[in-house]
Amino acid sequence: MKSLVTRFFRVRELPVFIALVIVVFITGSANPQFFTLSGFQDVTLGVAVVAVLAVAQTLVIVMKHIDLSVGSTIGFSAYLIGDASSKGHGFWYCMGLALALGLAVGAANGFMVAYLKLPSLVVTLGTLYIVRGVFNEVAGGNTITEDMVPGPINFMGLNTFFGIPYLFLVAFVLMLVVGFVMKRIRSARDLYAIGSNLLAAELGGIPVARRVFLAFLATGAVSGLAGAVLLARFNTAAANSGNGLELSVVAACVVGGVAIAGGIGTVYGAVIGAILLQAITMALGALGIPQFWQLAVNGTLLIAAISLDRYLSTRVKPTSIMGAK
């Protein structure tokens, strides 16, 4: 029993979870509306897109890499889905298109990082620009309107399952699946090894290049498919959709304990981190902090969250899957 309790307190995600509870409590006290079902739905709906992307980004960050192209990819994908649908194509065709885009970007990133061994920051920054440029050219001044959104996507965006918005369920289920895979399936656990100590991983026989490539491919695929989530959430898409999302996603991961230094952190933490950041933004409003100060306070809290996580990580046993004692 004692060891269970001790293990609980050493869980890496605990600090960020506690922070979330505190923020929720503060927001709720300032605005009781927050504790109602609609308040819950506000938060979960608002966080869905970032949460999905954060789950994917975790795969990449634990390997000590980063993928900055996700914002451009998800935006372009959302636009393509709406555009194809408006030209009469069916739901599966549109989703196939979105997946194809995601896979293409992921494969390009993966090839350059895994096989050419190029730094992921540079590569994904380059693909960010290229995808955005192509996207802008294709989209021009057009806007996807609600009638162009495929039926199933529209349904998902507007409805709830026993009170929980479908979009959040998508993120939640994705988190459970990927979380399970990363803990139990050998080839996924290798990602942590690659991030902790690349040389040891190579010497230990892990096919590093293949793992890295597949991880970027997966991230790209998720970003592509997540275009449906973006479209469902906002019922619109245009040339500037998705701009800047990458920073929010990275912030969510870092706050949730997925260290930039690699080798540590889980998708559960990433999602909690995303929810925490969303809750903070809502808290600022609820507490009546003047509009012009909100961004500054947001930035300060982000720094505080990262600092806190760093401080506690030196005191907490890391959930590195390599079984650190």
Partner: protein, 324 residues
């Protein structure tokens, strides 16, 4: 082996710059005149100034994503102080001081608190930008003294060079000499190549890094002054996204993101090249969207080409070896 191709990349960027200018003059009649060149220099002045400091930082193995926000905060501070009665000269000093303080904050969070610079500067990016809004609200300051504004967009009398060339040239010269010919420069490389070894050989790593961040903040501040004068106004939403341009220029200039490699001339040539090519493409009517794609492509080329050369060279070398 690596040192060899760094010089190669240097020459490569210089060649690229030369080719761009020459080709540019042929494909567009509007490119190679003094007016346009003056504009290109003005266009890249702020990015170049910040890139000088960012070069050191990346060579030392760190990064700073908040530079654009520091630039804007400096500008906002100048506007705020001036609007509230301070003399413009004092406002500039105040702005530079703010830039320095921002850099020190970044440095403190990285060296003392021990946070990864990529993550922490995402936070300070938001914080500093937020402070711009806190200072100016939704009212940009636009009545700045005429004699200062003139420096923003006029040329040095008798030449085609804009006034901003002066701070740029002086700072570039200093940065170049320090990086390649002084102890501080050598230390910067050492820290980037192997921080542990650097520490053990007596280099004050933490203090150096703190200093580098502070310098980056100060340079962003200088860029903020130039920016304010060029646009004759101080606004809270200035320079959004600049940090990516600075980093792209530094990387295109041959500085390795992993640290330990790079030259200052490479970065300067890269900044000038990017400005020149942007100008050429615009003048031959490339759309703004196409420019985005080109920027991304250049960035990728800047890392793919050296790697391709490396692979080719190592293949040749191993072929050589097996012959023996």
């Amino acid at each position: 082996m690596k040192k060899k191709y760094t010089f190669g990349w240097d020459q490569g960027v210089t060649a690229f710059l030369a080719i761009t200018v020459v080709v540019g003059s042929f494909v567009s009649e509007y490119f190679a005149n003094f007016d346009n060149l003056s504009f290109v220099i003005q266009d890249i002045a702020e990015i170049a100034i910040i890139a000088l400091a960012m070069t050191y930082l990346i060579i030392a193995g760190e990064i700073d994503l908040s530079v654009a926000s520091i630039l804007s905060l400096t500008s906002a501070t100048i506007g705020f102080l001036f609007r509230n009665g301070t003399s413009f000269e004092m406002a500039i000093v105040g702005g530079l001081l703010v830039g320095l303080l921002c850099g020190l904050l970044n440095g403190y969070l990285v060296t003392v608190v021990g946070l990864p610079s990529l993550a922490v500067t995402i936070g300070t990016l938001a914080l500093f930008r937020g402070l711009c809004y806190a200072l100016l609200g939704n009212e940009p300051v636009n009545e700045l003294p005429e004699n200062w504004i003139v420096l923003g967009y006029e040329n040095i009398p008798g030449t085609f060079l804009p006034w901003s060339t002066i701070p740029l040239a002086i700072l570039a010269a200093i940065a170049w000499i320090v990086l390649h010919y002084t102890r501080i420069g050598r230390w910067t490389f050492a820290i980037g190549i192997n921080p542990e070894a650097a520490k053990f050989s007596g280099i004050p790593v933490a203090r150096m890094k703190l200093g580098l961040f502070a310098m980056t903040g100060l340079m962003s501040g200088v860029a903020g002054v130039v920016y304010t004068l060029r646009f004759a106004s101080a606004s809270p939403d200035g320079a959004v996204g600049f940090e990516l341009s600075v980093i792209a220029a530094v990387l295109f200039g041959g500085v390795a993101i992993a640290g330990g490699i790079g030259t200052l001339w490479g970065v300067l040539a890269a900044v000038l090249s990017l400005g020149a090519i942007r100008s050429v493409l615009q003048l031959i009517d490339f759309s703004a969207n196409a420019l985005l794609v080109v920027s991304g492509a250049l960035l990728l080329i800047s890392v793919v080409v050296p790697r391709a050369i490396e692979i080719y060279q190592s293949r040749r070398k191993s072929a050589f070896v097996t012959k023996i």
